[in-house]
Amino acid sequence: MAKKSYREAINEAIAQEMRRDENVLVWGEDNAGGAGGEGEQDAWGGVLGVTKGLLGEFGPERVLDTPISESAFIGAAVGAAATGLRPVAELMFADFMGVCFDQIYNQAAKFRYMFGGKAVTPLVIRTMYGAGFRAASQHSQTLYPMFTHIPGLKVIVPSSPYDAKGLMIQAIRDDDPCIFFENKVMYDDEEEVPDDSYTIPFGEANVIREGEDATIVAFGRMVGMARQAADALEKEGISCTVVDPRTTSPLDTDTILECVEDTGRLVVVDEGYPRCSMASDVSSIVAQHAFKALKGPIQMVTAPHAPVPFSPELEDEYVPNADKIVAAVRATLA
């Protein structure tokens, strides 16, 4: 066991699965990096280096660079999965789903159902999401709510290096199409991550801390913000449960409902747009199924209904943070 970054944890998960199962292949733009050129062949490992080193160990038959043709190579992942491979394909930024979404939601997600249960489509699409990189409106979106909307997809949003590794291994072994959302500002976050292979099951929330006054449900990078908020509130004598669902689809509604039954208050924190969002989703499930337990209005903390701005000052104001979560907890207790 050693400290590993979120990036290293994901890399290690993929490498271990590639060692275990020769049907696991990796592809995407510059996933090796350097194809066709005269310089280093493993130059990039993807734009932020997550797949770096895989080419060296597994060779060009299993680590493939692609043209900038997302429909073709994400679609190829679907076709490969349906015929016996287990591809781990990269859709660099989640924002790029718009050029290839058909292959994800009309093909991968629906094969099994449309074909009457006769298909399995074991593929993982890795993609980066989130604001904080000063990358502006088309490179900073969260968008997992749109994938969560679609039946047939599984959607994974790891909030730590430890979870990232275990959830990635689970995703690669899973027989359904999995969309794996990596938060781009967390790649350098470090923590102790076991060297051995391990899985974390989907649909099992991580209850990060238990409190009595309010439940905070948060996703991905927002889990850290929720923790900070809970720390701050604790000093004022307000104790919060913090729940990290880890996967948005399947969603561990049981755990969420139990925590709300205990605390009677709910704050949902989601980095994405507010409308038809994960904040909406969790709130509505609780308003339907744990209504009686609720002692105050549900509070949602999200980005505003606006694209992500470029300017650092605006972007910092845009993203939910611990202060806003603290305010929301206070509001539901008021």
Binding site: F73, G75, Y113, F115, K118
Partner: protein, 321 residues
């Protein structure tokens, strides 16, 4: 490439099966029994069968909204297909897919598809599986003149070439995408497009089974032996409308009759093989009778078969349920 008698009989029988399947579905649709959107392949049989007569179970095809012919040519069970068209529980997809989503992955049939241009990317993946696993298999994407304008298709030309995949892109050009003529909507030339992506290509008369078979055979052989992708441009015609219910007012007067009279691939096949003394009219007539009886039986059964159990509404969404 010589075909023996058995192969010839089989090819004729498959083409006839497609034809009768479609002609009977056309009639039954009119009577209101078959739900949904149905796009018929009648008239285009020589393409599906000419290409698929080279294929085995290790080979994979991807089809379109006009998929019945490809399914039958790739070996899907016609009885189960018909049950599927009627939305029955014993249909090939349990009644959940219908005409536009018939698939049989074990047979290498990766699905009809409701999205124009969805097949080519998928088929690149199937081809990669074959290449990586060294099965010697090839992968064939069928699509129409209309589908040749979808970006997903064009991207796939590039990917197939860059990855040197065993793919054959088959453009079935029936002159129309819905009501829009390919002379309007397809700029340039399909073969020049292939050249643009460094792929060999050929154009064939899709009413001529033997021409299709020969051209496809070469491309499939090239793909099997590591030579990469090719594009086959098949010129053909559909007998019916875009979908059932289409009044076809966009077609010239007498256009369909002329096609039926002079460009019917089944008639052309029959003439060719009987004149060459390879098969007799009696042999072919017998196939005609048997096939029609079989299709009628499929329809009779489908009409009264049970719908899927309502409990299947929410199964097959994931592996676990």
């Amino acid at each position: 490439m010589q075909m023996n008698r058995e192969d010839l009989l089989k090819s004729y029988s498959t083409m006839r099966t497609i034809r009768d399947f479609e002609e009977r579905v056309h009639e039954e649709f009119a009577s209101g029994d078959i739900p949904g959107f149905v796009h018929l392949y009648a008239g285009e049989e020589a393409s599906a069968v000419g290409v698929c007569s080279h294929l085995e179970n290790r080979d994979v095809i991807a089809s379109t909204h006009r998929g019945h012919g490809h399914c039958i040519a790739k070996g899907c069970d016609t009885r189960e297909m018909m049950l599927e068209l009627y939305g029955r529980g014993e249909g090939l997809c349990g009644g959940k897919g219908g005409s536009m989503h018939i698939a049989d992955i074990e047979k290498g049939m990766l699905g009809a598809n409701g999205i124009v241009g969805a097949g080519p990317p998928l088929i690149c993946g199937a081809a990669l599986t074959a290449k990586y696993k060294k099965t010697g298999g090839v992968a064939v994407a069928f699509f129409g003149d209309g589908g040749s304008n979808q970006g997903t298709t064009l991207e796939s030309y590039n990917l197939a070439k860059v990855w040197n995949l065993p793919v054959i892109f088959v453009v079935e050009d029936n002159g129309y995408a819905e009501a829009t003529s390919s002379s309007y909507a397809v700029a340039g030339d399909q073969l020049d497009r292939a050249t643009g992506f460094g792929m060999p290509s050929a154009r064939v008369d899709g009413h001529d089974y033997f021409a299709v078979r020969e051209a496809a055979g070469e491309m499939i052989e090239r793909a099997r032996t590591g030579g990469g992708p090719s594009l086959l441009h098949v010129m053909l015609d559909r007998f019916f409308g875009h979908f059932e219910g289409d009044a076809m007012t966009y077609r010239a007067e007498g256009e369909v009759q002329n096609i039926r009279d002079n460009k019917d691939c089944l008639k052309i096949f029959r003439k060719r093989v009987t004149e060459a003394g390879l098969l007799t009219d009696e042999q072919l007539d017998k196939i005609d009778t048997d096939v029609m009886a079989h299709i009628n039986a499929c329809i009779d059964e489908s009409k009264t078969a049970s719908p899927p159990s309502l409990s299947t509404l929410t199964t097959d969404v994931y592996i676990s349920y």
